[in-house]
């Protein structure tokens, strides 16, 4: 199914050249939620580009991830306002709680972590967002609790 999605995207970029790489990567991520190895290989065949080059371009931008997102996708804002309000320590706390780095997904596929530049909620800084739900004025202690609540009660409480 996944391969079919990629094929469909590539077919909509017939006779594309290397300048189509970023739009294709964006569409693949939109469709799969991440850039898979298989996708890189297929895009490479389509555009006649080596896999290393595609990976190089994709890792240049923060927007691309290479692991599927977890059941709960945690976005930590590292924009200017959040930074001033201590988001570095918030991110550190989330990383410690999940034991993953930005761009990664936990092994049980429950959580994935992403750092974003600004969510346009500077009044609530520092802010994090889990599956579209915003948590305002968080502290390291507070985010640890939030993560914990998702972990323990997750399925019953938060999946609607």
């Amino acid at each position: 199914m996944i391969e079919a999605n990629i094929q469909e995207i590539l077919e909509s970029h017939k006779n594309a050249e290397r300048d189509a790489l970023i739009p294709i990567l964006q569409e693949v991520q939109e469709s799969l939620g991440y850039i898979s190895k298989e996708a890189v290989v297929q895009i490479g065949r389509h555009l006649n580009l080596p896999a290393s080059k595609i990976y190089g371009v994709a890792t240049f931008y923060n927007q691309f991830r290479f692991q599927p997102v977890g059941r709960y996708h945690v976005q930590v804002c590292r924009g200017t306002a959040c930074h001033v309000k201590g988001s570095a320590r918030v991110l550190e706390a989330v990383q410690n709680a999940l034991k993953i780095a930005p761009g990664q997904t936990t092994r049980d596929k429950m959580f994935s972590l992403e750092v974003v530049a600004c969510m346009g909620a500077c009044g609530l800084s520092p802010v994090i967002c889990i599956n579209g739900e915003f948590f305002a004025k968080v502290s390291p202690a507070k985010v640890t609790k939030i993560i914990e609540s998702y972990r323990t009660e997750g399925v019953s409480k938060h999946v609607a």
Partner: protein, 573 residues
């Protein structure tokens, strides 16, 4: 021609010169870290900046073209200060372990820092312990020592057409990496080691077998034998600081005995053996409507490239093992038997101009009953290290001859070290095998030299045999695409992984310029011109091994010991 003024002196330059090329032609050097002769400029390192009258900022001389009347100061105080600052910034997050570095005293960054008078740490940058990639049997990558000049990326993509590595991530986190940061062993890297030869620092090096060899040499249980490839004798001198192109064949044999090898053999002997097998295979294919064009199989980088990028050409590639593996197999069978030695008591070392040979020796099919045919592979650089370690004085040592039963080689086997050499050697013997007479002129000038693709037509018994020679896999790919598109006039193709052949292999002395490579090539053809035994089929030791052991070319024993098969590789590429 136009005139420019450099440091107050008038020079003439060509319109298409860059400031760097014009200045260097006039015998003055501007240092560079990212520039490579023969490539378009990349302008990444900014070490080569110069002052140009009327231009506000400093100008990168590698990418700025000359203009008539241009006034340039190459070593003004401002330019020197800028260079020094750049080096200081590069050193800000560079490991301080020069003493322990494989490139100590042979490092462009280290020399530049010394030349520019960097005597203390001016800047201290964030240092991360990045993971060293030692997954490859051939190449070790230490990203901590990488200065991101991009030379390895360019040679991998632009010369070899492999593109196993590229720049990944961004800004201060940028590094050179494979797709998905996998180990080189899982990437489409073909182990050629051209990246090592162009690397200005110790970020790339061969996977060293020096300790393996030293352990075996000091182990009384082991009978240590060594073979040296055709290209080693004309490059080891350079590694030891002598003039490029000096032939140290006999001296090297003597030196290898001094450091403790029980027997010293010349891989050129098994190159002769390769010619007997490969020449017979070609004739068999031509006579029996076999798959043509036949392609050579000596170069292990090419073989992995074939398996990864052009698996459809596998039936075209000769089934012959490379000379290294042929001699390895013969040493642990014929030779061991002759000497009354058990194969597992023999420790077989080969000295190769090549890092891919380490991978080749490691291939599972290159073993008999679980005992590898070749136990360790040293590059020319590693041999240099061992010779220095043992204090061998190459100036005073007297030349000695290689050991029986493989003591004699023809010069046809010797020229394997240069691109076109295998073809020339094969044509000499194929002509004889088909006609029963020798070629009136043994020289096949059309396939000599450093061009990427060389072609010739040879008439044998009325048949016009089309031959082509490619070196550098980007050039090989062009030829393969022509064959794919239906080109029919070629019968035999020689492919060497490295541009110019083994004389500029990935195991050769670091940063050789084109003139050094030319000198090495000249030395090989000089040997060919000055000796009498110039064809593989007239080598008496080759005749003996067929009489005593192998029977005939392509026979049962040959099939078992000297021939192999190829796989298709599924890697991310």
């Amino acid at each position: 021609m136009i005139q420019i003024e450099v440091n107050g002196k008038t020079l003439t330059a060509k319109e298409d010169d860059t400031i760097l090329s014009a200045v260097r032609k006039a015998g003055l050097n501007i240092p560079t870290l990212c520039h490579m002769d023969g490539y378009p400029p990349s302008g990444a390192c900014r070490i080569c900046v110069v002052e140009v009258d009327g231009v506000n900022g400093l100008v990168p001389s590698c990418s700025a073209g000359v203009r008539d009347g241009m006034k340039i100061k190459t070593h003004s105080q401002r330019a020197l200060e800028a260079r020094k600052t750049i080096v200081e910034l590069l050193l800000a997050n560079h490991p301080d372990d020069c003493n322990y570095c494989v490139r100590n005293e042979n490092c462009e960054l280290q020399s530049l820092a010394a030349e520019l008078g960097v005597r203390r740490r001016t800047y201290t940058g964030r240092r991360e312990m990045l993971r060293i990639d030692a997954s490859s049997p051939s190449i070790v990558r230490d990203p901590n020592k990488c200065i991101l000049c991009g030379r390895c990326v360019r040679v991998c993509e632009e010369v070899q057409g492999v593109a196993a590595i590229d720049f990944t991530k961004r800004g201060s986190r940028a590094q050179i990496g494979t797709a998905f940061d996998q180990g080189l062993n899982l990437s489409c890297c073909i182990n050629c080691g051209q990246c090592i030869v162009v690397c200005p620092t110790g970020a790339l090096a061969e996977n060293s077998h020096v300790k393996l060899v030293l352990d075996a040499l000091s182990n009384p249980e082991k009978f240590c034998v060594v073979q040296h490839a055709p290209a080693i004798s004309v490059t080891i001198a350079e590694e030891l600081g002598c003039t490029a192109g000096s032939d140290y064949d006999g001296k090297m044999v003597a030196a290898l005995r001094r450091i403790g090898f029980d027997r010293v053999f010349d891989t050129s002997f098994s190159a002769d053996l390769t010619i007997m097998e490969e020449g017979s295979e070609l004739i068999h294919r031509v006579k029996n409507n076999g798959v043509l064009p036949m392609i050579t199989s000596c170069s292990p980088g090419w073989i992995k490239y074939l398996e990864t990028f052009y698996p459809e050409f596998r039936p075209n590639v000769s089934t012959c093992k490379s000379p290294q593996q042929m001699l390895g197999a013969i040493i642990k069978s014929y030779f061991a038997e002759r000497e009354g030695l058990k194969p597992d008591k023999v420790f077989s070392v080969s000295i190769m101009p090549c890092t891919a040979k380490k991978f080749e020796a490691n291939r599972p099919e290159m073993a008999q009953d679980g005992i590898p045919d070749v136990d360790a592979v040293l590059t020319t650089r590693e041999l240099g290290q061992i010779l220095r370690m043992f204090g061998v004085d190459m100036n005073t040592i007297e030349p000695e001859a290689a050991d029986t039963p493989f003591g004699t080689r023809s010069t046809a086997g010797k020229i394997f070290g240069a691109s076109g050499g295998v073809m020339e050697a094969a044509v000499r013997s194929a002509y004889f095998l088909l006609t029963g007479t020798e070629l009136s002129n043994l020289n096949l000038e059309a396939v000599r030299g450093l061009e990427g693709v060389k072609e010739a037509q040879v008439e044998i018994n009325g048949l016009k045999v089309g031959v082509a020679v490619a070196s550098g896999l980007g050039n090989a790919a062009k030829l393969l695409e022509q064959v794919k598109a239906g080109r029919k006039d070629l019968h035999f193709i020689e492919i060497m992984t490295c541009p110019g052949g083994c004389i500029s292999g990935g195991g050769q002395p670091i940063s050789a310029d084109t003139n050094a490579v030319k000198a090495r090539m000249k030395a090989l053809y000089q040997i060919d011109a000055s000796e009498n035994l110039r064809t593989s089929h007239t080598n008496p030791d080759i005749k003996r091994i067929y009489e005593e052991f192998l029977g005939e070319p392509l026979g049962e024993k040959s099939h078992h010991l000297l021939h192999t098969h190829y796989a298709q590789r599924e890697v991310v590429r």
